[in-house]
């Protein structure tokens, strides 16, 4: 009987010797580390954010004034960021179902408008603002560094639809996304 007990105790001890280091290892692995650079701040300033275009006619181009330096984008945070641009359809304020589709091929048609941007001293041509249904759009200012000395300026150009119903206040949104590089 004594021998049986000794064998059983040895078997149990063997298990425990195997299990405890595994358990200890698991406990160590389960120590979750969360690293947050709390001083890193995302802050982008755009000035201005509205374009008072006024009354427009069909099939006509409108440019911001000043044409290519209308808006200034400044990185007021403390980390370098990449920015992306994403447009959207222009909607009638009173009935958002009534809209001007934002063109994806730089050509307008009935209720379809085109929007472009030009980054001063960087762009060589107007670049279309397109609508990405899912996603953050296309690259805008990459590696936008901190401070006013690194700010960029850009302008917008709108080509109105070939025809549309008049006397409606249309509103649109251009999203500028920023992420730390």
């Amino acid at each position: 009987m004594k021998e049986q007990i000794i064998v059983i105790i040895l078997v149990i001890s063997f298990f425990l010797v195997l299990v405890f280091p595994v358990e200890a290892q698991d406990s160590d692995i389960r120590t979750i580390t969360i690293t947050m650079t709390t001083k890193s701040i995302l802050e982008i300033e755009l000035n201005p954010v509205t374009w008072e275009i006024g009354a427009v006619e069909p099939n006509k181009e409108y440019k911001t004034n000043p044409e290519k330096t209308w808006c200034t984008i400044t990185n007021r945070g403390n980390c370098v960021v990449d920015t992306y641009i994403n447009g959207d359809d222009a909607r009638w304020v009173e009935n958002p179902n009534s809209k001007w589709i934002l063109s994806s091929n730089e050509s307008n048609s009935e209720n379809e408008c085109v929007l472009w941007y030009w980054i001063a001293w960087c762009s060589t041509d107007y670049i279309p603002v397109t609508k990405a249904d899912s996603g953050m759009g296309s690259e805008f200012c990459i590696d936008l560094d901190i401070g006013e000395e690194n700010q960029k300026q850009f302008g917008l150009k709108l080509l109105t639809p070939t025809s549309f119903i008049g006397s409606r206040d249309m509103e649109s949104t251009i999203i500028i996304s920023a992420v730390a590089t």
């Binding site: 009987m1 007990i5 059983i8 149990i12 298990f15 425990l16 299990v19 405890f20 595994v22 358990e23 698991d26 692995i29 389960r30 979750i32 580390t33 969360i34 690293t35 947050m36 650079t37 001083k39 890193s40 701040i41 995302l42 802050e43 982008i44 300033e45 755009l46 000035n47 201005p48 954010v49 509205t50 374009w51 008072e52 275009i53 009354a55 427009v56 006619e57 069909p58 808006c71 945070g77 960021v81 222009a90 953050m136 709108l158 109105t160 025809s163 549309f164 008049g166 006397s167 409606r168 206040d169 249309m170 509103e171 949104t173 999203i175 500028i176 996304s177 920023a178 992420v179 730390a180």
Partner: protein, 187 residues
Amino acid sequence: MNMLQNRYVFWLFTLLLAVLLPSTTLAWSFSVSPSEVEIENLSPGNKAEFKLSIYNKESINQVFYLSSYLPDETDIRQGRTVVPDNSWISLPAQVKVTANSEKEITIAVSIPQNQEWKGKDWEIWLGISPETPELLVINYYVRLLLSTGEATNAASHSAQLVIIVSIVVLFYVLCSYYRKAHRNTIR
């Protein structure tokens, strides 16, 4: 054709109003901190929480929308892949931040208990944008870097099970031994 021409002329000479936003304000001034969060050794089956701060620098209350976003593989850190499922990230859909104040938001990350998710390096972005009628809107993305450990909760549970079974067996054996010894003493 005549009708089309008439229609065009009508619209051409009618003042058509397309006001791309009526005010002249600056962008909503707000900031987000941190710009990047790294979670290491989060074992499948476990949960981690962290806080993000949104600072509303405007003089009026502001609603911010939050969402998780799966970026393109080309936009994420080298050596990482995109998180397989953005439902693992729990965050409020929107928060209201009072004027000139800061609000902390708790974000939770839960990895399902599955051996498949061991030892992975993932990335997902958290989007924060204000509710605003302006033409130009700023949207921030916070990078969330996520690394899972080699162990899972299942492994540690089985280890605990073995320990419990071992203790029960040891207890049973000791009881049997003392009962037998006690009987022999009585005899």
